[in-house]
């Protein structure tokens, strides 16, 4: 035992230890109960004092004829040396009559310095609140108790613990005096932890005595969490640990906090992030005081940090809790609506099938998409990388010049604007597109699970439905056609339908939240697939004859219409000048159509579930089947963006069919049981369709071709701005134009980018290029390069099997540079840059060079929006070089709409967050 604790540390043990009770003021009403319970202890106390509480505490002390002290330290300092122990007890506690006696007995018997009671819930005395606790190295308490765990005396063992609850503890008077009492800047739990740690490194034993039972009214429970406790734990750690320990514990602890805060932020909880910031700032401000306290601890230190480590759990309690919360969240998503879920369903929800189903779905989806994460996304079809200039893409969306092809005034596709917006927000990060893809997968699975839960489907079935939604054959139509926007829309669609179906009470906040959710989901689904905003209307109409009123409210149709209106508003710059190709060109090739056996299994699952399933299963699978059928009707009858939306609808329907069919439970009667069993088998067959995707790991996404073909172009590209390449053949990136027996298109720069995927309608220059290619194709002229130079084409990439390639042998000004897997790259030796003036450099939407009185030619489609001094030069632009720069004047209407859309989107996000279910 150390001698430095106090001047009377070598006291002579008395036959009957004397105890002074220090009741910490918590609440005025509860204090008299505590006071009476203390006075009626079998083991009598020498004196009683009320600590804190200001005037109220002082008045209560006078009324009860006990002493009062403003702080525990003051009280302890005043105590007579004849006092052996101080019983520190919360003022909202009712100790059992033998509680103090048990504490004294165990303290004496074990020569302990600090002993705590077993704390029970006063409202339910058989429920445990605390029997001592461990911490992790960062001071995070770990009690090991389940919430509301019943006290079956399972923990009734006197033992050393990391810290005891500050609710009731007996501490040697000399020790608490030497430690300068409780740290009064800390809230109760953190103060208990702090005192326990300081007692232990001073050489004392910290124990719990379960035979000492106190009933806690929990008036102080609101102080048990929050940033003050977090700040207190940080301060306790800073005071107790040696520098060497702090060197690693502080940064790792802070990172753990950050990870936890970010993860919870993704679940919509801002609190942990705010708590972390406040706690860090609080400690920063109090660092001098902490260092001063640390020097006091150093004076009494008798052991190293390893004595603290002995009673700590390994790892991070916070991360463990986070994992548990996430699993809970994924396994039981819809729990925000009290009364909506029956007790029976709740029992089912908390079963393990949810988490297991989520795990299986995550594994399936992860395996099916592994090549995307390991090898990167390809540049193919409409699955193209983002450009390097997100700001200019956003400008093209907002009424600026769209340089795709030979340029146009039509807005670039909203998905390019969305992706570029995200890229811009992430500081131009190249991984933005992968992040969006990953988000689409995660939110697609999650959204379907959420929607199915709303319909009443529980357990693993929801997750299997989610997996089928994002990697099933309908979703693979998007990947096999390399149509990234469709795949991206999968992430938002179920959330849009869910938001439309979700209930809203009549408070402004609730309605605003619902509007925000609908708007946000409509924007995120509508940007990649503009016609997807119509899906809720179709889905609700088809649900009317199928769903009952508990799942489908009459207002749902109106909310669906709201989704269409808001969604259309948010992509209005695009819809204002939607290119004809968006509405009349087949974007999805029928060769990727799901196999007949799969469609048969899906139909069987839907029909059998609708016929033999419980009402819940019948409704869900029936609705899903109707969505599939309607989607397929749409795919068969509608082109362009409508076709994409129809395929999305079919995919959602397939997910619902699987969710409903896989949810089947054994029914009564042989026929029903057989029907449900067959439906389950059919659903299993549908799920098994993911096997090919799992095997190839690319969910059917085509191989990358253009990165390698055009790598050479990027190597040779000079600094005069991005140059144009003419691509000729099949399987070209993005939209194409039809030549005489081949497809062709232009790209600008060394690779096809997402914003260039869509081509505007034929303009004067596009028609001139088509005529030129016909002439080149005829093989009459030996100098096709000179003809193509008019269009600022420097590179010509031709498939060897394209008819045009035959005439590119006998010609004199297209030099062959590379042959890659059936494609040949030519360099145009007669190349002329997009802006003709000497020293002029062009960007996507502007050009600059030496100012002069001359005229420069811009080889883009003629448009008077280019300035200054615009005149038409055949199909191109002639502009004055007088300013040394030429720019395009954006359309103010579309620019204004784009800005308003962005504002609406932010507002929607804010409303969705503010009005979210709690």
């Amino acid at each position: 035992m150390t001698v430095s604790l106090s001047e009377d540390s070598e006291r002579v043990p008395t036959a009957t230890p004397t105890v002074a009770a220090a009741i910490l003021f918590i609440e005025e009403l509860a204090l008299p109960v505590t006071l009476e319970s203390v006075r009626s202890q079998v083991y009598e106390v020498e004196s009683v004092a009320i600590i804190g509480g200001g005037d109220i505490g002082r008045r209560l002390a006078e009324k009860a004829d006990v002493t009062h002290a403003d702080s525990l330290a003051i009280f302890v300092a005043r105590l007579d040396t004849s006092i052996d122990y101080v019983w520190v007890i919360h003022g909202d506690v009712r100790p059992r009559p033998d509680a103090l006696g048990a504490l004294v007995a165990e303290t004496e018997r074990n020569e302990a310095s600090l002993v705590g009671s077993k704390v029970l819930n006063a409202a339910a005395p058989d429920r445990l609140e605390s029997v001592g606790a461990a911490t992790d190295v960062f001071g995070e308490p770990y009690s090991g108790l389940d919430p509301d765990e019943v006290d079956l005396e399972q923990y009734d063992v006197v033992r050393d613990v990391a810290f005891i609850s500050g609710v009731s503890m007996l501490v040697r008077r000399d020790l608490i005096r030497g430690l300068r009492g409780l740290d009064m800047t800390l809230p109760p739990v953190a103060a208990g932890l702090d005192l326990s740690q300081r007692a232990r490194i001073a050489g004392g034993r910290v124990m719990v005595a379960p035979s000492s039972e106190v009933l806690h009214l929990r008036a102080c429970r609101h102080e048990g969490d929050g940033w003050r406790e977090l700040a207190g734990r940080m301060r306790a750690m800073l005071k107790a640990y040696k520098w060497l320990t702090l060197l690693w514990a502080v940064p790792i602890g802070w990172l753990v906090l950050l990870l936890d805060a970010v993860a919870r932020l993704s679940l919509g909880r801002v609190g942990p992030m705010v708590d972390m910031a406040k706690a860090s700032f609080w400690n920063l401000v109090r660092l001098p005081s902490t260092l001063a306290s640390r020097s006091l601890v150093r004076a009494v230190r008798a052991t190293g940090d390893e004595e603290l480590f002995r009673y700590q759990v390994s790892g991070s309690v916070r991360l463990r809790n986070l994992g548990s919360d996430m699993a809970s969240r994924f396994g039981w998503i819809i729990d925000q609506e009290p009364g909506r879920v029956s007790e029976e369903e709740l029992e089912r929800e908390v079963s393990l099938s949810g988490p297991i189903g989520a795990g299986v779905a995550a594994a399936l989806v992860g395996l099916a998409t592994r090549a995307l994460w390991l090898g990167g996304a390809p540049a193919s079809g409409f699955w193209l990388p983002l450009g390097s200039s997100p700001a200019s893409v956003l400008g093209s969306y907002a009424g600026g010049w769209n340089p795709s092809g030979l340029g146009s005034t039509e807005s670039t596709h909203p998905v390019a604007a969305l992706a570029s917006g995200v890229q811009w927000l992430l500081g131009g990060w190249v991984g933005a597109q992968s992040l969006l893809t990953l988000s689409s997968i995660v939110f697609g699975v999650w959204g379907v699970a959420r929607l199915l839960t709303r319909l009443g489907i529980s357990g693993a079935a929801r997750w299997l439905g989610g997996a089928v939604f994002v990697v099933g054959p309908f979703a693979r139509v998007f990947t096999e056609n390399a149509y990234w926007p469709g795949f991206l829309a999968l992430g938002a669609l179920p959330w849009l339908v869910d938001a439309v179906l979700s209930p809203a009470d009549h408070t402004f906040r609730s309605i605003a939240g619902k509007v925000g959710r609908i708007a946000l989901a409509a924007a995120l689904a509508g940007a990649p697939a503009p016609m997807a905003v119509v899906i809720p209307v179709v889905a609700v109409i088809l649900a009317v004859p199928i769903m009952d009123k508990s799942k489908l409210r009459p207002s749902s149709l109106w909310w669906a219409v709201v989704a269409v209106v808001i969604g259309a508003d948010l992509i209005s710059p695009y819809l204002l000048g939607i290119p004809p190709s968006a509405l009349n060109v087949d974007l999805l090739d029928g060769t990727s159509w799901p196999a007949l056996w799969w469609l048969g299994a899906l139909a069987l699952a839907a029909v059998l579930s609708a016929t033999f399933g419980s009402s819940l299963e019948a409704r869900t699978a029936g609705w899903g089947g109707a969505l599939v059928a309607a989607g397929l009707l749409g795919v068969g009858m509608l082109p362009g963006e409508f076709e994409v939306a129809a395929m999305l609808l079919a995919s959602l329907g397939a997910a619902l069919v699987v969710g409903g069919a896989a949810h089947a439970h054994a029914g009564s009667g042989m026929v029903v049981r057989t029907g449900r069993g067959l439906a389950l088998v059919a659903a299993a067959v549908v799920v098994a369709s993911m096997i090919p995707a799992i095997v190839d790991g690319r969910i059917g996404l085509t191989e990358d071709g253009w990165s390698e073909r055009l790598a050479f172009v990027s190597e040779l590209e000079d600094s005069a701005g991005p140059e144009r390449a003419l691509l000729v053949g099949d399987s070209l990136p993005g939209e194409v134009r039809s030549g005489q027996g081949y497809d062709f298109r232009l790209i600008t720069g060394s690779r096809p980018t997402l914003d260039q995927a869509w081509l505007a309608g034929d303009r004067i220059g596009d028609r001139a290029l088509a005529r030129t290619l016909i002439a080149v194709d005829g093989g009459v002229n030996a100098r096709p390069g000179a003809a193509l130079a008019e269009f600022a084409i420097r590179w010509v990439v031709v498939a060897d099997d394209a008819p045009l390639s035959e005439v590119l042998g006998p010609q004199v000004d297209l030099a062959e540079r590379r042959r890659v897997e059936g494609w040949t790259v030519f360099e145009n030796l007669a190349f002329r840059p997009r802006v003709s003036g000497d020293g002029w450099v062009a960007t996507r939407t502007a050009a600059s060079g030496p100012a002069s009185d001359s005229v420069v030619r811009l080889a883009d489609n003629a448009d008077p929006g280019w300035q200054p001094g615009w005149t038409q030069d055949e199909w191109s632009n002639a502009l004055s070089a007088v300013d040394g720069t030429i720019t395009y004047r954006p359309d103010p209407l579309r620019q204004g709409l784009a800005v308003a859309s962005a504002g609406l989107l932010v507002l929607a996000a804010g409303l969705a967050f503010w009005g979210r279910a709690r």
Binding site: W593, A610, G622, A626, G636
Partner: protein, 429 residues
């Protein structure tokens, strides 16, 4: 129960509807691929040496600029000549900076034009060959020989920006007779490649060279020195119907060579036309696969006559005139009503060989491609081959006929030069 039944019926109904309108495979709607059009450019080759005068003669129906450029990796400057009022343009090899065996690419104002290279060494030898469209498939050059004192050079010129690869095989009196060194010849862009056939395949009396262009495009042919004369012949694509007039050349004999690159034997039939009569199937024979047939014209009939060779497989037919101080080669040709004979004007005493296979006389209008020379009319009797003298000067002659004829031309300038005309408008059934 009824509600559920209705739900199932709805589901089935929608499903059936979806099945009925399921999409098919997207077949891109494409316009018909363009038929190959005659190019407005042609390539040829020639020997440009100090004592050889080589000339590119261009005849053109359309006025405009003619651009001629030497095939050279260094990229020499092209020479631009305007087509004059008579439809002629001439480019001297010397102006192109040519030296040795070289290729020349000539670009015309339109596809209705033709060019030929003529060579003459003093008064002793002469040769001519047409400039041809680019070869991108199979072609055969016939009639070479590599006997003692003879030299034969295979010339492949690639004036284009893309490297070419050519597989070269040959046949001789020994049948399929190829040199392994020629199995795959790279002809780099803007380069002329020559191979000495007399070194690779010596002592052959009749050699046909088959070319298969595997990549890119070339112009090819054979330069021959034999009997103290120079001859050149361009490689042409095989066909199944050939026509040619054959006239008597003093102190010389003529042979008909029929070569094929077919992997199967080809049956051939030779008809002769003379003095208003047709002798059908005067010769019937088989050309073995990837081989050739050598036929003395005397066995077919008496000169002058017109010959038609038809076959059931692709062949190339050529005429070899061999005699004292005489060696001339020319592929056979086709029928047309309009002919350009570039190069004719480069020689004195040139004459056209005109074969009228029709049942009535053909009225010909001969328009010299030279300023100041008037057109004149000539009648060619039915089913006969005749000699028509040509005027000297300019680029050559334009012949318009009232019916289809086949035209070659020749000149005796010490040695004999023999070439075929260029059919401007080919009439087909």
């Amino acid at each position: 129960m009824i509600r559920r039944l209705l739900q199932v019926l709805l589901l089935v109904g929608l499903g059936v509807g979806a099945w009925l309108v399921r999409p098919g495979t997207i077949e891109p709607v494409r316009d018909r691929a363009l038929e190959p059009q005659p190019p407005a450019f042609a390539g040829c080759f020639g020997a440009a040496e100090r004592d050889v005068a080589a000339l590119v003669s261009v005849g053109s129906i359309v006025r405009g600029d003619v651009i001629a450029q030497l095939v050279s990796p260094a990229g020499t400057a092209p020479v631009k000549e305007a087509v004059d009022g008579a439809g002629a343009a001439l480019v001297d090899f010397g102006d192109l900076g040519a030296a040795g065996t070289v290729g020349v690419l000539t670009e015309f104002p339109s596809a209705d034009a033709a060019a030929a290279v003529t060579m003459r060494r003093g008064d002793a030898t002469a040769a001519t060959a047409m400039c041809t469209p680019p070869l991108t498939g199979s072609a055969i050059a016939i009639g070479a020989s590599t006997g003692t004192g003879e030299s034969a050079e295979l010339v492949m010129t690639n004036p284009y920006a893309v490297d070419a690869v050519v597989a070269v095989e040959s046949s001789s009196e020994n049948g399929d007779d190829s040199a392994s060194e020629l199995a795959s010849v790279l002809v780099p862009a803007r380069t002329t490649v020559t191979r000495d056939l007399d070194g690779l395949l010596p002592l052959r009396t009749s050699l046909s060279v088959r070319l298969r262009v595997e990549r890119g495009a070339v112009h090819a042919g054979i330069l021959q020195e034999a009997q103290g004369d120079v001859a050149s012949v361009e490689a042409v694509a095989p066909a199944q119907d050939w026509w040619l007039p054959v006239l008597a050349v003093a102190n010389s004999g003529a042979r008909l060579v029929i070569a094929t690159d077919s992997p199967l034997p080809v049956n051939v039939v030779v008809d002769s036309y003379r003095a208003g009569t047709v002798s059908e199937a005067v010769f019937e024979g088989v050309v073995e696969a990837r081989s050739q047939l050598d036929l003395d014209v005397g066995e077919v009939g008496e000169l002058p006559m017109g010959i038609r060779v038809s076959s059931d497989g692709p062949v190339v037919v050529g005429l070899v005139v061999n005699g004292e101080q005489t060696r001339a080669l020319s592929p056979a040709t086709t029928l047309s009503t309009e002919w350009l004979l570039p190069g004719v004007g480069a020689f004195d005493g040139a004459r056209a060989w005109v074969f009228n296979a029709g049942e009535v006389s053909a009225e010909l209008v001969l328009q010299p491609l030279a300023s100041g020379l008037a057109a004149r009319a000539v009648e060619v009797p039915a089913r006969a081959a005749v000699s028509v003298p040509m005027e000297t000067g300019g680029a050559g002659m334009l012949i318009r006929s009232s019916s289809e004829v086949a035209v070659l031309w020749s000149t005796r300038n010490g040695g004999l030069a023999l070439g075929k005309g260029h059919p401007v408008a080919v009439l087909t059934d």
